[in-house]
Amino acid sequence: MLLDKDQFQKKLAKLQNLPAFPSILDRFNDMVKDPSISMSQIGDVIGQDQMLSLKILKLINSAFYGFPGRISTITHALVLLGYDVVKGLILSATVFEEMSNDWRELWKHSLGVSKACGLICEKLRIPDAEEIAMAGLLHDIGKVVLILEEPAIYEKVQMGAAKHDLPIDLAEQKLLGFDHTEVALWLCDRWHLPQRLGVPMAYHHHPENSKSPQMHSVVVFLADNITKAVGAGAEVNSKVMPMPAIVTEMLNINRAFLEQLVIDLERELQTISA
């Protein structure tokens, strides 16, 4: 194995500084100066950055505030933390010096999945849209942390996946002994993030095995694959996975729905890359 599981878990436990993207920080700084900007507008901007979102959810679910594992959306976190705390948290975020291509692809993919979750929930009138969209934004956080903490090793994993034409999670399992969904679960446990985020993050490849809330996992699975289908996969060789029966059963969707979803998502994603 390229990584020792226990060692890596220990490393995660010490993970303190989650870097944020400079573009988000710049926008936030501008917003802070403008008194007419509302909390929900700030929430929208934060909701585009995995690391900032994670930081905020980590803080509000920490034992210090006294309701661990309860808060799963940025809107709720902003209400409970308050403007000053969020401001401090964001201003103290470390900035990425440069964004590598890996990063950019992964960020675009995550944001795409988050938007796709929102679209699916809206079209099918599924409740908890913001929560599911957050799970979508964070679903690949395990990859993010792996790239962040073990860049050289993870590059080998990505190369191995490309060379043998393997899905990334299988390559991770072969070469690391665990995959990025497990890493996401460790983080969720460690930081007392709600199950309602952790479950879809952990089961986004296999919603058929998902614990409750299974609907969350189903939506994130579909969103992940639709996003890959429109060419915004996390990796160059990202593959659309075969759809388990549970997805069409629980969502009660047909081919026409999926085709329309692709069109709508493409339109949404154009505004992101701009």
Binding site: Y65, G66, F67, R70, I71, S72, T75, H76, V79, L80, L81, G82, Y83, D84, S212, P213
Partner: protein, 324 residues
């Protein structure tokens, strides 16, 4: 407004030293007085509690005295500053049996002494009245805040907040999740009040599921609406899916009958100072309780402002508004 002088009690069996301490401590803000024996000290404390005790005598009898004092829930909040001569303390000294709040070493640095005294007094008012659950200030601070606003004739609105259906929630999910609701509610109110740019903004925790907000009268509508909206939005996430979807809690009472309880909601009763001739906190609290009864009759989260109005003798309430 001018702060009343803080009272500092100096406990020292040596009259000459005590006298010197009094001279050192007396400032514009602080009134110091020396007490030489234990009985008189007790008497003085029960008669009119000082804001700070400075102890130079820390023999065993005085330690017992101090422990007795600090064991009492009311006097636990009285800060005690211990003065120690060189050699009395070592690196292994522990303070489990000596419940002082801060210490100073002799010989004294006068500037440091005054700073420590000021800090000890502020610290006690800052932290010691706080509710351990919500960390909000408790009744003592609430009372003082309201009274000083009344005394200064500053217009304010007193809002009583009470969580509806809290008991069935606690029964269903246990007190630990009930505590989470209390903390969540405290945060929502704190942030709503802090978010305004008003100069009067205070949130206190009366106890249990009762809170208080003291805000500017013109902000009552905006802040109450925000608090209610945020509470309803977030409280929903503290239920298990089954109850949340159903929209009510089911429980079995002592007779074995099934009861339905509505989900948590918030009731706020507001009393505006300029509408009334109240001169002390008790009157506000009584008026607010009456309004609270009315607002609790309504389903869901609501707020209600006391529209009753006292005719004032000579003193035009509109003027009171203009003065500030």
């Amino acid at each position: 407004m001018s702060q009343p002088q803080k009272r500092i009690m100096i406990l020292d069996p040596d009259p000459a030293r005590a006298e010197r301490m009094v001279e050192l401590m007396e400032t514009e803000d602080h009134f110091a007085y020396a007490v030489e024996d234990m009985n008189r000290a007790m008497q003085q404390i029960y008669n009119e509690a000082p804001d700070l005790i400075v102890m130079t005598a820390l023999g065993d009898r005085w330690k017992t005295f101090l422990r007795t004092l600090k064991n009492d829930s009311v006097y636990r909040y009285l800060p005690v500053l211990g003065l120690f001569a060189e050699g009395m303390l070592g690196p292994t000294t522990t303070f489990e049996g000596l419940p002082i709040d801060d210490l100073l070493l002799l010989p004294l640095n006068l500037d440091e002494l005054r700073l420590r005294v000021r800090l000890a007094i502020v610290k006690s008012s800052r932290y010691l009245d706080a509710n351990p659950l919500s960390r909000l200030p408790g009744n003592y601070t609430i009372l003082q805040t309201v009274q000083s606003l009344i005394d200064n004739k500053t217009p304010f609105a007193l809002c009583y907040i009470d969580i509806d259906s809290f008991k069935p929630f606690n029964d269903r999910y246990g007190f630990s999740r009930g505590d989470e609701i209390i903390r969540m509610t405290a945060r929502i109110m704190t942030n709503a009040v802090r978010g305004s740019t008003d100069s009067i903004s205070f949130v206190g925790h009366i106890g249990g599921d009762d809170f208080i907000m003291i805000i500017e009268p013109q902000s009552v509508d905006a802040i109450c609406k925000q608090v209610l909206f945020n509470f309803d939005m977030i409280a929903a996430t503290f239920y298990d899916d089954e109850d949340r979807m159903r929209g009510y809690i089911e429980s079995v009472d002592r007779k074995g009958a099934k009861n339905r309880f509505p989900l948590l909601s918030l009731s706020i009763a507001a009393v505006i100072s300029v509408n009334r001739n109240f001169t002390h906190y008790g009157e506000f609290s009584a008026a607010a309780s009456e309004v609270k009864k009315a607002v609790k009759q309504l389903d869901g989260s609501n707020y209600m402002v006391d529209r009753r109005y006292d005719k004032k003798e000579g003193d035009d309430p509109q003027l009171a508004l203009v003065e500030t």
